[in-house]
């Protein structure tokens, strides 16, 4: 299966829907081990990204992903802004001139995104950040050979839930040390909604 420009547009739209629908929940998670703005941040960023994309007709997935990245970077307002911005920018770079996007291209993009996230956040796996979701998804994608809607969603959910038992050592949650254990990482939850949106697009196409 390949993803065309309209699929990528739909992915961003669906991600935005999921995040708007779960805005309160994301905020609740961030209240437990952060400053309680993650839902607001992500909702603002994705709302603007979706609006920006709706304004235009795109002929390249890379452009959709790049506009998403730039909007998230400037509009989110918290740590997740530069982070999701970086992830989508790396996906954009990998997608450049590759329409429609093959499974392999997408997987390469994911790998670059994980590298970018780690570099931007100075974080690695196991630190209770969104890196944990993106990294597990990259491993899963590398292990498979094609998009599978159901397992994408399942894997992302599992990766998000795995952050619950971790102790945060990066970002705001790190100030809470041992107290951070027992809550799902907010950025990982948003990441799950983004992969869940991807699964929906894949399913619709299949």
């Amino acid at each position: 299966m390949e993803l065309d420009v309209q699929d990528i547009v739909a992915w961003i739209e669906k991600s935005n829907e999921n995040i708007q629908a779960n805005k309160e929940y994301l905020t609740t998670l961030d209240q437990e081990i952060g400053d309680g703005d993650h839902g607001i941040n992500m909702a603002r960023g994705f709302q603007e990204a979706a609006a920006k994309i709706a304004e235009q007709t795109y002929t390249s997935s890379a452009d959709v992903l790049k506009d998403t990245a730039m909007t998230l970077m400037s509009k989110v307002g918290g740590a997740s802004g530069p982070l999701f911005g970086t992830a989508f920018l790396k996906l954009s770079t990998a997608a450049n001139g590759m329409d429609p996007i093959s499974y392999e291209t997408f997987t390469n993009g994911l790998e670059e995104a994980v590298n970018g996230l780690k570099q931007r956040g100075k974080a690695t796996e196991g630190e209770k950040t969104l890196v944990d979701v993106w990294s597990q998804m990259m491993n899963y994608f590398k292990h498979e050979t094609d998009f599978h809607a159901e397992t994408i969603a399942e894997k992302a959910k599992k990766a998000m839930e795995d952050t619950k038992d971790m102790m945060a050592t990066k970002g705001r949650a790190a100030y809470f040390k041992e107290r951070s254990v027992g809550s799902i990482d907010p950025g990982s939850a948003s990441s799950f909604y983004i992969f869940q949106a991807l699964a929906d697009i894949v399913e619709r196409r299949a």
Binding site: S74, G77, G81, P82, R120
Partner: protein, 124 residues
């Protein structure tokens, strides 16, 4: 004469306004630019505001950039990468205390390297 500029980044507009007031009492000539809060004035940081502040603060002698906590650092790093100039440096020193030292050093005509060294010496 040009001086190394100072950029103050904080999640809170008030923190950087107050820090600028504190420095301005002592140092008049050095460019000081602030990026506090999000673009709608809430608690947070904004990469574009940071980038613009750095550009305004650069009189050709470079810039020492200070931030308060976590995500301000990430936005600062990103803005600095986007600008891509050698003499724009992110400082690990405390926002209020560090920028005060840097402003005095800059006012004495020190360059970015020497300001960075003075801060490392003071704040480890």
């Amino acid at each position: 004469m040009s001086y190394v500029g100072i950029v103050l980044i904080s999640h809170s507009p008030k923190i950087v306004e107050g820090t600028k007031d504190l420095i301005r009492q002592v140092i008049k000539e050095v460019p000081i630019e602030i990026a506090g809060g999000t673009d709608d004035g809430a608690i947070g940081t904004n990469v574009e505001m940071v980038q613009q502040a750095i550009e305004r603060a650069n009189d050709g002698e470079g810039v020492s950039v200070f931030y308060d906590i976590g995500s301000a650092k990430m936005n600062a790093e990103m803005a600095i990468e986007m600008i891509g100039e050698e003499d724009v440096k992110l400082m690990g020193a405390p926002l209020v205390e560090g920028s005060y030292v840097a402003a005095v050093e800059s006012g004495m005509g020190k360059d970015v390297q020497r300001i960075t060294a003075a801060l490392a010496n003071e704040f480890g």
